[in-house]
Amino acid sequence: MNWATSLAALVPLDHLGHYLHWHWFLISVANLTVIGLMVVTFIVALFVPFPGRRRREDSK
């Protein structure tokens, strides 16, 4: 089984999507995952040090 087949087995793309539903609010799990990844990436970008920043500050 190659990596593409493994990934396809992990995320079945040939079925109906999963949805979360609270009253009037409806969102697919796929869209919610992407929004979650964006929030995580945003937070990581704020706190992970940028490479070379310390070197530039030391050289001043």
Binding site: T41, A45, F50, G52, R56, E57
Partner: protein, 207 residues
Amino acid sequence: MSTTEIDRQWTTRLRQRVTSKLPPEKLLPDTQPAYVSSWIYVFGVTTLAALMVVIATGCVLAIRGPQWWHGSNIGHFVNSLHLWSVEIFFFAMVIHLWGKFFMAAWRGGRSLTWVTGAVTFLVSILTAFTGYVSQTNFDSQWIATQAKDGINATGGGAYFNVLNLGQMLMWHIVLLPIGAVVLTALHVLMVRSKGVVPPFADASEMS
């Protein structure tokens, strides 16, 4: 022709205006301020890079046509590159927007930079939407038949008919990409002209 006459020419005046607003050292600077050394400043250029891949793959799809992108392996591959570069484009653009919102990046006379960015975002959503209804498959038919009710409810259906594939494709590959690229170019030139917005001053600096 006298010097005064040359100075009055529109070409001279335009050149002087452009070079005073955007001298070469501002257009392509050698260095950036220290505060730009942060991952949060990477997402603007990521969006730009993704846009270039979107345009390049879109050009290949336009040249080869639907039979090719539906019916051949390389067509599927380029079609997927087009889709996934759009995904990265929006992913990076939203994080760029969040970052700039919390920096209040419209400070210091940068309001038009913010506005062109926000309008580019809206134009990009419309471009992506017309792309979804131009796929020429069952997915695009489903999206178009669902979307028509929403568009008709706004009264816009008479001018923007999502069931008209020819109209949607022309919006997707001509009008909206021109709008998105021109707005992006203006946005980048404004960033170059005004510079990257500085962080908020420390409370200690303000007192």
